[in-house]
């Protein structure tokens, strides 16, 4: 977003421009993505510096805040990846927040009131059954929306606006508005918290596996191009991309590992495991939180789905020209059902993460989430005109939204009104900058 300004400013300096252009060409990095990451970095630094100047301590870029930010972003990020598909195919889903509410409530009742009576409190099957039911429920409700849209010809805006109201009301009726708590202990780990994270060793394993995967992706991409004799990236381009990706991942590992458990949790843990806490205290790292790993897994799966499978190709084709897609033999109606079902499934996953994080199910769970999810997808470059959007963009968009919200709290504007003003302005501004960028690129 900000790089259009940079490169136009550097037009006079031909040599530097040439180098930037060569760098972008060699690495084939998406300038749009670089712009979004730049905007995110700008937001982070700005909040940090502002906090430092006004209170004497910058806390935004602390390990603790970044860890919390990642956990808070998980639920919106997971749903935003699905919203990308919905918006690419020129639809909208306003019901996801209410789906979280009703699925969260049903899962809450299932694991607190029904399953314990059948298998006993704390039985390991409880969280598994609850998770499976939540995911299936989401997929079924989403498929129902998709069927109304595709086979009954009701616009998606109307179907899901109806869904927004119906499912929120249904969430209230599930337990007559009561809060259902506490959720199953194992289930609660899916929402994060000190125990709901994989620790230092686990994080290093994730980091190393991730780096191996990055190397393998670059290598196999290279050999596929070689096989078909298509222009290769220069070796240095692949090396730079690999180094940046692995560096970011290792950096993330270092950050989450430098955030220790709070003292109370350490003491309780030591007591439970018969450990003696030395006087200077035990340093136990959080590591990656489980909901963040879920978001990462969803992101990877959705990216593969969108870029490497027929399904993803058809989603883009329908968004680009629905008539052409139909004439090419694509069953566009059935695709719509599948896309909304996938969106519902992801709302189910998000319901698991957010009710686990809250350690309870309330009928207000996910209230207004649909707007944040849509905003995240749109900030991430998904075009409401259809046909254009990326999964990673939606995740970056979700982080931008989350950063603005947490940042406002941290610098003392925790009052909801300021927060929503800033987030709203950011949404409009992001789309405006995106328009400028697209015109500039043309």
């Amino acid at each position: 977003m900000s790089d259009s300004k940079n490169s136009s400013a550097s037009h006079s300096e031909d040599r530097r421009d040439g180098m930037v252009a060569r760098f972008l060409q060699g690495t084939e990095l998406d300038t749009r993505m670089l712009g979004m990451l730049g905007a995110l970095a700008l937001i982070w630094v700005a909040f940090h510096v502002y906090g430092y100047l006004s209170t004497g301590q910058g806390i935004f870029l602390s390990a603790r805040n970044l860890w919390n930010l990642s956990v808070q972003t998980a639920s919106i990020g997971i749903m935003a990846t699905g919203m990308v598909l919905v918006i690419i195919t020129r639809n909208i889903d306003l019901s996801v927040g209410s789906l979280i509410g009703v699925i969260g409530m049903l899962m809450g009742v299932l694991q607190v009131e029904i399953l314990p009576k059948m298998v006993g409190i704390g039985h390991p099957s409880i969280w598994i059954v609850t998770v499976i039911v939540g995911i299936i429920l989401g997929a079924v409700l989403g498929a129902f929306h998709g069927w109304l849209i595709a086979y009954r010809g009701i616009p998606s805006f109307i179907v899901t606006l109806g869904g927004l109201m119906v499912w929120r009301g249904a969430a209230f009726l599930v337990a007559d508005g009561k809060t259902v708590a506490p959720v199953d202990a194992t289930f609660a780990l899916l929402g994060g918290g000190p125990y709901g994270a994989v620790g230092a060793t686990g994080s290093w394993i994730v980091g190393v596996l991730g780096c191996l995967a990055i190397v393998w992706i670059l290598y196999s991409g290279r050999s596929a191009r070689q096989k078909h004799n298509i222009r290769l990236r220069p070796v240095w381009g692949d090396l730079v991309v690999g180094a940046l990706a692995c560096g970011t991942l290792i950096g993330a590992v270092l950050v989450v590992n430098s955030y220790p458990w709070p003292k109370g949790i350490v003491d309780a843990y030591a007591k439970a495991n018969n450990l003696t806490v030395p006087p200077e205290g035990l340093f136990i790292s959080h590591g990656f939180a489980i909901p963040v790993l879920i978001m990462v897994a969803v992101t990877i799966i959705m990216t593969i789905l969108m870029t490497r499978t027929r399904f993803g190709r058809y989603v883009f084709a329908i968004g680009g020209n629905p008539e052409a897609a139909a004439l090419a033999g694509i069953d566009t109606r059935w695709m719509t059902v599948k896309i909304f079902s996938l969106m519902g499934l992801l709302a189910g996953v998000a319901a698991i993460v957010s009710s686990a994080r809250l350690n309870s199910a309330t009928n207000a769970l996910g209230n207004l989430d649909e707007l944040y999810v849509i905003a995240a997808a749109v900030i991430g470059g998904t075009s409401l005109a259809g046909g254009v959007g990326t999964i990673y963009g939606a995740i970056i968009g979700a982080f931008i939204m989350g950063s603005l919200q947490t940042g406002m709290v941290l610098i003392g504007f925790g009052d909801g009104s300021y927060r929503s003003i800033v987030v709203g302005v950011a949404l409009v501004l992001a789309v405006y900058l995106d328009n400028l960028y697209r015109n500039y690129i043309k």
């Binding site: 027929r310 680009g320 020209n321 008539e323 052409a324 004439l327």
Partner: protein, 252 residues
């Protein structure tokens, strides 16, 4: 030209109506291998509707379609493709946001191990076929919205040629093209004809019809006015058929 034996395609007594209006009214047309048959008529005469029954976009209310003398069931575009019927639409039917290779293989992607798309293979095949059809084509990695009309038409034609079309339907293929690109398409039609394809050409321009087609079928108000061998009639005869529905002596 002598057309004996079994026609490649025979549309027999096709009718289709929309909301009480007979768009196509008991029309029969046939097409032989290595032949170009022009379909002419006013806007709304029913030529596009008739041909969409063959391409699978519409289903006829009555009548039957025979391919090589055998009855064919065509209910959707996929069925049509299985009979090697390829269509190049007036609106080009390309997804603007996808690149040339994705459009060429849309609905028939090359998949590798594990069912994942093999984009490199598709791009490589696209480069080969387009090198043959339009050697000046270079823009392989941009969405087709960035291409000129002629380049987009090349992609649409490449799609038909790549998948070994036996029956090609072209709905005003040169409507959006400049003179040079129109010439390119004309040469291509001759080339494909030589290879033994049967081509239905929907066209408004009488000169193109006279130049490219072997026979011409004229429609008016959903009905067939007549069929003529183009080398036995004049421009005026055909115009008379289109405008007045007047059947010349040599028409059948």
């Amino acid at each position: 030209m002598t057309n004996t034996g079994t026609p490649l395609v025979e549309l027999r007594d096709i009718s289709i109506s929309f909301g009480g209006i007979k768009a196509v009214d008991h029309v029969s047309v046939n097409l032989f291998a290595g032949e170009v048959v022009g379909l002419l008529g006013h806007n709304g005469a029913g030529k596009s509707t008739l041909i969409k029954c063959l391409s699978g976009a519409y289903k006829a209310d009555s009548g039957e379609i025979l391919i090589n003398g055998e009855k064919a069931e065509i209910n959707n575009p996929r069925d049509a493709r299985s009979y090697n019927i390829e269509t190049i639409y007036q609106t080009l039917a390309l997804a603007d946001n996808l690149d040339a290779a994705s459009n060429l293989f849309l609905g028939r992607e090359i998949v590798g191990a594990g069912g994942f798309l093999d984009d490199s293979a598709m791009e490589s095949e696209t480069r080969k076929i387009l090198a043959r059809l339009n050697p000046n084509f270079r823009k392989f990695n941009v969405p087709v919205s960035a291409l000129s009309g002629g380049q987009r038409q090349s992609v649409a034609i490449a799609r038909a040629v790549y998948f070994n079309a036996k029956i090609l339907i072209m709905d005003e293929p040169t409507a959006a093209l400049g003179p040079q690109e129109t010439q390119m398409v004309a040469e291509l039609i001759q080339e494909l004809k030589k290879q033994g394809l049967g081509i239905f050409l929907i066209e408004h321009d009488i000169h193109s019809v006279m130049k490219l087609c072997d026979r011409a079928v004229v429609m008016k108000n959903g009905q067939r006015v007549g069929t003529v061998n183009v080398d036995e009639v004049t421009d005026e005869d055909i115009l008379g058929m289109i405008i007045m529905g007047k059947k010349p002596a040599k028409a059948v």
